[in-house]
């Protein structure tokens, strides 16, 4: 579905990405994982065209992503930004339906699509008239997701969609999200730094370190045959809170 070919990106002194090659298969969930600052968000930004690669190219199906074509391609991708990115001056409804209004959908069609989405994301429909500040963190994430899904895109790009939530809500939403991905059969690229979450969602997990791909595979592959010791350390570091505690006391 999306092919990243030998892409590099440098910000001033920082080599955010170094010759990345990655194929995102259609209909599956690809998880990007790695430490903070390893370049996960940068990959998503390049795909949606918020950034231009310094070298290499990215293809959406067979189309090379360039600034000229990117606007129309964006409408075939839904993007949930790391910080949520809801427009504070619009209600949940206004946020979700903005693009549809802009493209001239009639109210009937918008209503119908919204009903499907609130049902899918189990979002209370009376919440649609509220502004982002009046919604809980979990509800805000559901609104971001609905906004991304509104035009029924082929690809969903999710940048730590559950990052800011407390563990209980996070667990609920993980289940909901997985159900949604399965129900829709969409191509999903999901960024996280949580290995358990990666295993929960990912058909394919891509582990990044300092702008390079360290290993691609299932969670099992990563645990059983790590590419190097960093992979094992990365996985072990997040095993379980209790284990971490024990290690600290030794």
């Amino acid at each position: 579905m999306i092919r990243i070919q030998d892409v590099s990106k440098i910000f001033g002194q920082t080599r955010a990405l170094q010759s990345i090659d990655l194929t995102i298969p259609a209909g599956l969930t690809t998880v990007l994982i790695g430490q903070s600052g390893c370049g996960k968000s940068t990959i998503l930004r390049l795909i949606i065209g918020l950034l231009q690669a310094d070298s290499g190219s990215i293809y959406f199906e067979e189309t090379k992503i360039t600034p000229e074509v990117v606007i129309s391609l964006r409408r075939r991708m839904g993007y949930v930004i790391q910080e949520g990115g809801l427009f504070p001056h619009l209600t949940a409804y206004g946020n979700i339906a903005m693009m549809a209004h802009y493209l001239g959908w009639n109210n009937e069609r918008i209503r119908k699509r919204l009903n499907e989405l609130t049902e899918l994301t189990s979002f209370p429909s009376d919440g649609l008239d509220r502004f982002p500040v009046q919604l809980s963190g979990g509800q805000q994430q559901r609104v971001s997701l609905m906004r991304a899904l509104m035009l029924d895109p082929d690809v969903l790009l999710l940048d730590e969609p559950l990052g800011a939530l407390d563990p209980m809500i996070r667990a609920d939403l993980q289940v909901d999200l997985k159900r949604i991905f399965q129900a829709l059969g969409k191509t999903v690229v999901l960024v996280t730094h949580d290995i358990a979450e990666a295993g929960f969602f990912g058909n394919v997990i891509t582990l990044l370190r300092d702008g390079k791909i360290l290993q691609k595979g299932t969670l099992e592959d990563l645990v059983q045959s790590p590419a190097d010791s960093f992979v094992t350390r990365f996985i072990n570091a997040q095993r379980s809170p209790l284990e971490v505690m024990r290690k600290d006391f030794k």
């Binding site: 949606i48 918020l50 809801l86 504070p88 001056h89 619009l90 693009m99 502004f131 500040v133």
Partner: protein
């Protein structure tokens, strides 16, 4: 969006109508514009001319207290006014300085070349004189200007005009060889107060000044014949003779009719008894010339209303234009950093020009009256709006901007649907600041004949009348508060509700 467009449309229409058809009068009478300088005698003579024009059946407009000689002379040359009272001494020493014209005939010819004519002398000679408090002069035994040589420590306060006119202080000092170093230029009306308080000991003064008696001043004898004669005359444009010969005829009626005593009396009625100049002029014409004119005495209320109307006119047009121009400039500054630097730089520099100077710069470009004042106010109102639009857009958090971009909205739609609504509060705050600055600065518009509350302040200063100053200052302050309050109320309509909510605790 529709409301925005509607409001913008209204603004545009307002500006076009107000700028190009100011107070349009459709009638068959001719509009004759009379100017006067910012001191009482000139205003009285202006009022006399006003009555005369009216008696000739035309429509006079008196632009009072326009400023100094330069402003009036240039306005006359440009045809912004048709008539104003002047003094032969001022014409030869200041307006035609360096041409060596002395006699009335020489003056007449020099004026003729410039398309200006002059009536015969009106009667009195209002020469410049140096005045001191009677007691002080007595104590120091100063009778003549040359006596000043013996008192080098005296402090002088001269009107700004006297400081640099052809027969003013620098030449006077040389002529009499005066040693004083402590010489300040200040507003003529404030000089009297300095004299009272003793902060200065000598001032320049007109020999028909009503305050001579009031403050018990001694006029020092001009023993070296320094000052030329300042015979009052009326200057008018030569073309007035073709356009309205009967107006010229009627103006000439007051030639030789105003002796010095009469002028001092009129000045004193205005300055000491606070009789309106209009009334004084009417009384003079009826007593001296048996010319009955209707004196249109304005009530305080109708005067306040008129000044309010004038003030609002200045503010509304200049502010609307500033809003229309500044918001796009702010957007460009935020979107194109290079042009932004230039725009913000220029707008910032304009703001550093003192408002009075900006107004005066406008005179050579746009003359006197509404348009130059509006242009200066417009320039002055740009910065807060441009800056707030720019900072607002600049400070939109990146994730909001990226979200809008990632949705697939083109730049124009992003601006319209996301960015501008998000910075509406900041823009409105900028407009509010501009409005308050604008209303305050507009009081200076009166200095160049644009009217408004400043007119009352100006007249109040001239007549040393605190109540009159307050009648101008208080409504100006009130207007600023009202406008500020209205903009706060407007937040409801222009700032989206989502931005006005406080995050749930």
């Amino acid at each position: 969006m529709k409301t925005y467009l509607f409001v913008i449309h209204m603004f545009v229409c307002n500006i076009i109508i107000a700028y190009f058809f100011p107070l349009a009068v459709y009638s068959s009478t001719l509009e004759i514009k009379i100017g006067s300088k910012k001191f009482t005698e000139s205003v009285i003579l202006g009022e006399i001319a006003t009555h005369l024009v009216k008696s000739a059946g035309e429509q006079p407009i008196h632009l009072r207290e326009l400023g100094g000689t330069r402003v009036l002379w240039n306005a006359l040359l440009k045809g912004e006014i048709d008539i104003y009272p002047e003094y032969t001494g001022t014409i030869s020493e200041e307006i035609l300085a360096g041409e060596g014209v002395r006699s009335d005939e020489e003056i007449r010819q020099a004026l003729m070349k410039r398309g200006i004519k002059m009536t015969n002398a009106l009667g009195f000679n209002n020469t410049y004189a140096i005045g001191m408090k009677g007691e002080v002069a007595e104590k120091l035994k100063i009778q003549k200007i040359s006596d000043l040589r013996l008192h080098p420590d005296l402090k002088f306060g001269f009107g700004n005009e006297f400081m640099d006119r052809g027969d003013g202080w620098p030449i006077l000092r040389r002529h009499y060889n005066l040693p004083q170093q402590n010489v300040r230029g200040l507003d003529h009306d404030l000089a009297y107060r300095g004299l009272e308080k003793g902060t200065i000991q000598a001032i320049d003064i007109y020999s028909t000044d009503a305050k001579i008696r009031y403050y018990n001043l001694r006029l020092l004898e001009d023993d070296l014949n320094h000052f030329p004669a300042y015979n009052a005359v009326i200057l008018y444009r030569s073309d007035l003779e073709e356009r309205a010969p009967h107006v010229v005829t009627v103006l000439k009626k007051i030639e030789s009719k105003i002796p010095e005593s009469e002028m001092v009396k009129m000045n004193s009625r205005a300055n000491m008894e606070m009789v309106p100049e209009n009334r004084i002029a009417a009384d003079f014409l009826s007593e001296g010339l048996s010319l009955e004119t209707e004196s249109y005495e304005e009530t305080a209320i109708s005067r306040l209303l008129r000044h309010t109307r004038e003030h609002l006119y200045l503010v509304a047009i200049s502010l609307s234009a500033a809003i229309l121009i500044s918001i796009p400039l702010g957007i460009v500054s935020a979107k194109r950093p290079k042009s932004g630097q230039i725009i913000l730089g220029i707008v910032g520099v304009i703001q550093t020009i003192p408002s009075l100077a900006l107004l005066v710069f406008m005179i050579p470009l746009l003359g006197i009256g509404g348009p130059p004042a509006i242009t200066a106010l417009f320039l002055y109102s740009l910065l807060p709006i441009v800056r707030n639009t720019y900072t607002g857009l600049h400070d939109i958090r990146p994730h909001i901007r990226e979200s809008a971009e990632a949705l697939g909205l083109p730049p124009g739609a992003r601006l319209r649907l996301v960015e501008l609504p998000m910075v509406s509060r900041s823009i409105l705050a900028g407009i509010k600041t501009s409005a308050v600055i604008n209303i305050g600065t507009a009081t200076l518009g009166a200095l160049i004949g644009a009217g408004g509350y400043g007119q009352l302040i100006l007249t109040g200063i001239r007549l040393d009348n605190i109540s009159l100053i307050l009648q101008g200052a208080v409504p100006a302050a009130a207007l600023a508060l009202i406008v500020q309050g209205s903009f706060e109320a407007l937040e409801r309509f222009f700032v989206p509700k989502g931005l006005r909510l406080k995050p749930a605790a």
